[in-house]
Amino acid sequence: MNSPKTILENMRRARVERILSTPPTGLLVSRGFRRLLCVLAVVFSYIFFFTLLIPVSKIWETITSGGHVVTMNALGPAQRFLLSVATFVGWAGTLAPLILLASFLFLRTSMRRVTSLPDEFLDEREIANRDWAFKTGYLVIRRVGFAVAAGFLVLKVLAFNPSINLDDDGNRIREGLEANMFAFDTYLSSLTGMGAINFYFNMIGLLTYVAYTFPLILLAWRESKFTEVNAAPVNLVPLEGAAKIARQYFRRAGLVGSVFVGFVLFLSLGFAFRPLGEFLTFSGALFLFFLVAVPYAMFVYIWASIKTVEILKAAKADNYNQGRYASASMGALVFYVITQLLGISIALIFTQLGNFSSADNPILYLFVAGLAMIPAQAISFLFIRKLGNGQEAKS
């Protein structure tokens, strides 16, 4: 039996082998795409941060006139403006985490060679750049964290007022700076109006995201300075790598599939045991599930789409679209197109959701089309695996 040390060493070796055998190519190493991911991660971090600073519960109180539901016609201009702010916060608060997670996953894949391989597989410039990015990320986060803590300490000192003024009825009167500090404190308390755990989870989640992603952003930005290539294997997936990419796809798609199957089983348990069902429905567990699973599924889908295009290009360059492997090449292309058509139809319908009446609700179509995309893409990769195996046998 292997010792724990050997098992860990084997796991490390398998990981290194996996990273080396499937290097990021094409779009994933292009300067524009890397920089777009960096910009998305930064911009949406700010958007998410600012949505957390808007006291939505106070806005709803104002719009609904203290809990009473009113019609749109009864709303004044100020209330309509607040309603649009609240709607924006709702959308941004839902979309921003999805975009943040997806951009992190792409950045991680794009930079994985440099961030995850041991030193002996990297050259001196890559090691220097990686160390610079992680050190700079640490220093910036340390300094920003210190500045925020120091800022709050100053506020705390300023707000502290040893002289307590009381009115005739014995109530405390807050004046001047103390009154301002008290108003600020009340504002901060109002941020947790939609649930303190929800607020702190979002805030701590965002901080963790920044700590994880900031060094990656620095590294990706610097590494994308010179990405021009003059060697085909780096720009284009060599066809013998297609089988490895297909295996990687099935591993990732298998993870997505098992998470969703597990979710259905978990949900079924909820129907069988009512308290569990209520917990799932009302605790936000479903939302958390989608927060993690959906961006990962999006990532696998987009990554697989990019790889398919690269592999089909390589197949064409190697004349694999003719002769013995023509059917495999055509099959991969046909199922790729089907997957993309389904994906585009979902995206188009999703943007028009508000225009459907409740009788024509397209949710069922979206669900079925989303499910159909999984086997369609998997079949495309079965053909790709055939192409890759053919090339491996040939070489």
């Binding site: 050259d123 220097a128 003059n230």
Partner: protein, 77 residues
């Protein structure tokens, strides 16, 4: 040497690209010869990265010349 401060790499001028072209090597081929990533060759040739002494010696050996022919100080001491 490792990663130099900006002023260090700015003090160096190099003729790696000229020697490489003379030897009819692509960046990828030279990178493979000296054991670095192809991108590192771009950084060195454009003066964005000053290599360590060991890498400079490997480059000189691969290009069949002396280190001082490949790299020079912009301002002599």
């Amino acid at each position: 040497m490792g990663r130099q401060p900006k002023q260090d790499k700015d003090q160096l001028e190099n003729l790696v690209e000229q020697f490489r072209t003379k030897r009819e090597l692509s960046r990828q081929e030279l990178a493979d010869l000296v054991g670095v990533h192809y991108q590192t060759m771009s950084y060195i040739e454009r003066g964005e990265y000053a290599p360590t002494l060991a890498l400079a010696l490997r480059l000189a050996a691969a290009l069949d010349c002396k280190v001082e022919q490949l790299f020079k100080l912009k301002v002599s001491i």
